[in-house]
């Protein structure tokens, strides 16, 4: 089912939960809401679920305006971070609860619960109570309960953040697989950008109650439209440095103290037209230690990540993070030359924090 959010605002008294949010989500799409804690993700989700009434704006499921529709009439399945399983009910009763409320016949309830439980791999746990299950099992029960009523829309509120790293990886794959299989329009709230990047068709990046960007993971990564998105998406994060860009006719120089970098027409033109210093962003993988690099710096610290080393190189007063193969065995204090792939550099207006390259 298509979900249309137009100019949605939700306030709690004077506190802004989410403000002027506009999002159009396609049928069957998997959308992630990504943003730091307190940015309004849960508020948006609960407003979609009908728990909160919008202060302003409009929400449509398909063509139907649902602003005033009770949660029970929205046919939504939701998975909570805390799992929110009913502690006094068995696993069976938990999953059957939505069916019981719909007055589905007892024998059909049994059939459907068993079927969903088997898909979730918890068919042998139906007589247990939530308190007797591990976190991962509880999560599967919660998922089963959300799926059993065959919802039009699935809402996930940080469903994996209470699981250990390994299980999170497994569940990530399973949820994505299940969603593609069933084709249910899904909204997935997370503050973990890896989760959002790996699972979602499109990501809505939020900050301070406002939508920052709504794009595919790829676009967000390679063409961030705001400074916030550029800094929030990607791990390790993008390097930022304040530079002056000057030049003309396809050959530009980005300068900051001793740092001088040549930029081509495509990326250098727009910032050169800007009056004053701009913020340059460059991702760690776009900087290399190379003998024929033209920027010289000193290694400040080396952090082994296993597959790669995360290296912090100081160039004058500036610091750059980059990744390098562990085999090169870098030591702190070593002097190195850096090569910047300026075809990948980003430039932002320091006042509006908008990209100078993509609008």
């Amino acid at each position: 089912m298509k979900v249309t959010i137009d100019n949605l605002t939700k306030k709690f008294g004077d506190v802004v939960g989410v403000e002027d949010l506009t999002l159009h989500i396609d049928d069957g799409e998997f959308v992630a809401f990504l943003g730091p804690s307190g940015c309004g993700k849960t508020t948006t989700l609960l407003t979609l679920a009908g728990i909160y009434r919008p202060t302003d704006g409009e929400i449509r499921f398909g063509e139907r305006i649902v602003n005033q529709v009770q949660p029970k009439d929205r046919n939504i399945g939701m998975v909570f971070q805390s799992y929110a399983l009913y502690p006094h009910m068995t696993v069976f009763q938990n999953i059957a609860y939505p069916l019981k409320l719909k007055r589905v016949a007892k024998n059909i309830q049994h059939e459907r619960v068993q079927q969903v439980a088997n898909v979730m791999g918890i068919g042998n746990l139906l007589d247990r109570r939530p308190g007797q299950l591990s976190g991962g099992q509880q999560q599967r029960v919660a998922l089963g309960r959300a799926l059993v009523k065959e919802p039009d829309i699935l809402l996930f509120d940080e469903p994996l953040s209470n699981l250990d790293a390994r299980l999170r990886l497994t569940m990530r794959g399973e949820i994505k697989h299940l969603q593609k299989d069933l084709g249910i329009t899904s909204i997935y709230v997370t503050h973990d950008q890896v989760e959002a990047m790996t699972m979602a068709d499109r990501i809505a990046v939020m900050n301070g109650g406002h939508l920052q960007a709504f794009d595919s993971p790829d676009e967000l990564y390679s063409r961030p439209k705001t400074l916030f998105v550029a800094g929030f998406v990607g791990n390790p994060p993008m390097n930022f440095v304040s530079v002056d860009v000057s030049g003309s006719n396809g050959s530009y120089i980005a300068e900051a103290d001793s740092l001088r970098l040549e930029v081509g027409q495509e990326r250098g033109g727009p910032p050169a037209g800007y009056d004053g210093a701009v913020v340059m962003g460059i991702r760690p993988e776009d900087i290399q230690i190379s003998e024929n690099g033209n920027v010289s710096g000193e290694i400040f610290i080396v952090e082994p990540l296993g597959r790669e080393d995360l290296i912090d190189v100081r160039v004058g007063p500036h610091s750059f993070l980059l990744l390098e193969n562990t085999e090169s065995q870098r030591q702190s204090g070593e002097r190195v030359n850096l090569k910047f792939d300026m075809q990948k550099a980003q430039f932002f207006d320091p006042q509006t924090e908008k990209s100078l390259l993509w609008q």
Partner: protein, 322 residues
């Protein structure tokens, strides 16, 4: 067993003993209170109930009191009013408990937790007033409200409207005994139920709505099962406290009007032993009433604990040793 193992064993049993001592130490203050204010008075009353101590043969010397065996109990069982008083007590406890102390308390806490927080707080605060008002003042208010014309406030309205006036408390004494006590008793359950409802995780309540319940279905399938323990606790605790409470009845009707119309068991114990109602305070005979009341209370408490399986509801402590 090697020497070392023996040593270890000795040390561990010493440790166990020490930790028990710690546990008893922590329970001691409560234990002392129970002994001083419950067990010793019960023992004294038990003794008094087998004597004929009264104001006519008063002595504070326990040895000088006249032992009369179970004669007081015989008199009690043959007392033509004992039966009426017994059923009065059951009527009073049952109605006050079921209508006010549990049902209305539950309804008030459900209503005030489903409306705006501030408004809910104000309503609950209003319901607490009867409890925090001194009983004498509280009963006086009721009496002034309900008194016969020209004193009663309600009867003033009847006068203005040209309707007949009534002595309400005299014509419907039971209604007022139950209502007056219920208004006080309600707040206890209300506070316990409200805090139990508010401590249910918000996610659970939201999940129920998303799963397709109405607010009423959510109360039935989620909220009520989750506050089962507080419900049973209030039920049990209030039965026992109603059984022994009589101050409000004493002030309102003093067991009347007429002979024993609203007299309850604990009030009789007081009347016989401590008031000069019959010109002679019969401490021995009154004690017999009190002893039977303690007995009924203990039996009821044991039955409740069995029926409601309190031991299952109470979680095992997480701390194993102190």
């Amino acid at each position: 067993m090697s020497q070392q193992a023996e040593k270890r064993e000795a040390r561990s049993s010493r440790n166990a003993l020490r930790s028990y001592l710690g546990a008893y130490g922590f329970m001691a203050p409560a234990g002392v209170l129970v002994v001083v204010f419950f067990l010793i008075p019960v023992a004294i009353i038990l003794y008094l109930s087998v004597t004929n101590l009264a104001s006519s043969n008063f002595t504070s010397n326990l040895a000088a009191m006249e032992y009369i065996g179970l004669r007081n109990y015989e008199t009690l069982l043959n007392d033509q009013f004992a039966r009426k008083i017994f059923f009065n007590t059951i009527f009073y406890v049952l109605f006050t408990l079921s209508i006010f102390n549990v049902s209305l308390a539950l309804i008030v806490s459900l209503l005030t937790t489903h409306i705006d927080r501030g408004a809910g707080f104000v309503f609950r605060a209003l319901w607490i007033l009867p409890r925090i008002t001194s009983p004498v003042v509280y009963i006086l208010i009721w009496k002034r409200m309900m008194a016969e014309a020209p004193f009663g406030i309600l009867n003033q309205f009847n006068n203005w409207l040209g309707m007949p006036t009534y002595n309400y408390i005299a014509t419907n004494p039971w209604v007022f005994v139950v209502v007056v006590n219920g208004f006080i008793g309600l707040s206890f359950g209300m506070i316990i139920f409200t805090s139990a409802i508010e401590s249910i995780p918000k996610d659970l309540l939201n999940a129920s709505l998303v799963d397709g319940s109405s607010k009423l279905q959510r109360i039935r399938y989620v909220i009520l099962p989750l506050i089962r323990w507080p419900l049973l606790f209030v039920f049990t605790y209030q039965t026992l406290s109603l059984l022994t409470s009589f101050v409000e009845i004493q002030l309102l009707t003093d067991g009347g009007p007429g002979l024993y119309r609203t007299e309850v068991w604990s009030l009789t114990a007081y009347h016989r032993a401590l008031s000069n109602y019959f010109g002679n305070a019969q401490w021995g005979y009154g004690s017999a009433f009190a002893v039977l009341l303690v007995l009924i209370g203990v039996v009821l408490a044991v039955i409740y604990m069995r029926v409601f399986r309190f031991d299952e509801l109470v979680a095992e402590p997480r701390v194993e040793t102190l």
